[in-house]
């Protein structure tokens, strides 16, 4: 019965989404200069740290990043000690113990970030039926990637004349269908960055997007670094193969 209701709700939501999407297409998100773009892109270490803070203090109440492990943070410049301390701040479930019971213990670097809700039903129940998605792969799982995410986080505003957001939904011009269940999450001064950066909504959004881009592709820096070397190698080899081909065929022409 419950499942059926969810199915109906989901189907209705999907239909509403389609209807509105073709009625008013979302504008393309503005392009930003991301530190991790380009052939030599790397994650801006300071931005990842600020973004991590924004995630922890703002997003983590509703959204998990369950595929990211604490130890992964060492890939973007956190020290082993820092990672241990960060992990120890959260409680993770473990067990069963000798009495056969599950128990909570402080996190370890090997643990993955715990999610705020035990399961999707609990997430829906706590959020008016809209389940906050896990953010582990968000920049890969949306068209427009990081640009879209940043545009969405800062895309709230008054709906245009003649349009009224449905109850429990907010107007956001970049969201497909323009109505989103998540209230505008970022407000100026909501967090205090230890590095003294001013916590404007724009800044927080850029930083948390960088953090989530890292969460989605922790291998990105390895990939691009290796890619440059491999491509140079293959291009040189191809040049040599061309010379060989020409040399061999020269006897024919």
């Amino acid at each position: 019965m419950r499942a059926l209701k969810f199915a109906a709700l989901a189907a209705a939501a999907a239909l509403v989404g389609i209807g509105l999407a073709s009625a008013a297409e979302a504008p393309p998100p503005p392009q930003k200069n991301w530190s991790f773009d380009g052939l030599f892109g790397t994650f801006d270490r300071a931005a990842v740290r600020r973004g991590h803070l924004v995630y922890k203090e703002v997003c983590a109440a509703c959204h998990g990043v369950k595929l990211l492990a604490f130890r992964d943070l060492q890939r973007v410049g956190y020290s082993e000690g820092e990672v241990k301390a960060i992990a120890a701040q959260v409680e993770v479930q473990d067990g069963p113990n000798d009495q056969g019971e599950m128990f909570k213990r402080p996190g370890r670097p090997a643990d993955r970030f715990p999610s705020p809700f035990a399961n999707e039903q609990a997430a829906r129940a706590a959020n008016n039926g809209a389940s906050p998605p896990d953010l582990s792969l968000m920049t890969k799982a949306r068209k427009g990637g990081a640009d879209y995410l940043h545009a969405l986080l800062t895309g709230y505003g008054e709906p245009p004349k003649g349009m009224k957001a449905m109850e429990g939904l907010q107007y956001n011009k970049y969201f497909p269908g323009q109505q989103i269940a998540m209230p505008s999450p970022l407000n100026e001064g909501q967090v205090t960055f230890p590095d003294g950066t001013k916590a404007t909504a724009e800044q927080m959004s850029l930083d948390v997007t960088t953090f989530l881009a890292f969460a989605a592709e922790p291998e990105l820096e390895d990939r691009k670094r290796l890619g440059v070397k491999v491509l140079l190698f293959v291009i040189v080899l191809t040049g040599m193969l061309f010379a060989v081909k020409r040399e061999i065929w020269s006897a024919l022409h």
Binding site: V236, M240, L241
Partner: protein, 183 residues
């Protein structure tokens, strides 16, 4: 990326420029192919999450003297034994010259009453008996491997049988008097 042909076959007219080009290209191609194989080979090594899950904590407070428990660490059994005074004495009194793999008892324990070791026979990887009170314990009152008859003493040292080494002692530390962390 495969190596190019090294022989020019019927066209081989001994031109050194061509020979150099062919050999150089073949070499670069062969090196590239070899390097390309490495990621495939390396992918079979332990993955990052496996390497990260390397430590286990054990609460010792419930283990009575003369009792042993088996905990799982990195997928292998670890024997934790609360040794009796007699066992400690037997282990300490053994002369090094009697041992196949000479090692004094104090090199195998951090506190004499607690013996912690990986419960995998150093012969061919079976799990020795001796953890339960009614198990066979071998000729030296410690552990006995049923697969090929290796006898271990009360310090887990090999005394008789085909095993070449003492039972391995893992890296561990006392977090408090009653808690150890292995790994």
């Amino acid at each position: 990326m495969t190596a190019t042909a090294t022989t020019a076959g019927p066209l081989d007219d001994g031109k050194s420029r061509r020979d150099f080009l062919l050999i150089a290209t073949s070499t670069v191609g062969a090196v590239g192919t070899a390097l390309a194989v490495w990621p495939l080979v390396d992918s079979m090594n332990p993955a990052a999450d496996v390497l990260a899950l390397a430590s286990t904590e054990v609460d010792l407070s419930a283990i009575q003297q003369g009792q042993s428990i088996t905990v799982v660490w990195r997928g292998k059994p670890v024997f934790v034994r609360h040794r009796t005074a007699a066992e400690i004495k037997a282990a300490e009194a053994t002369a090094l010259s009697e041992l196949i793999d000479p090692q004094p008892d104090k090199a195998r324990v951090k506190k004499p009453q607690w013996l912690v070791m990986v419960g995998v026979c150093t012969h061919l990887g079976c799990i020795p008996l001796g953890q339960k009170a009614n198990d066979l314990k071998g000729d030296y009152g410690g552990w006995f491997c049923p697969c090929h008859g290796s006898h271990y003493d009360t310090a887990g040292r090999i005394r008789k049988g085909p095993a070449p080494q003492n039972l391995a002692v893992p890296d561990y530390q006392f977090l408090s008097d009653t808690v150890i962390r292995i790994g």
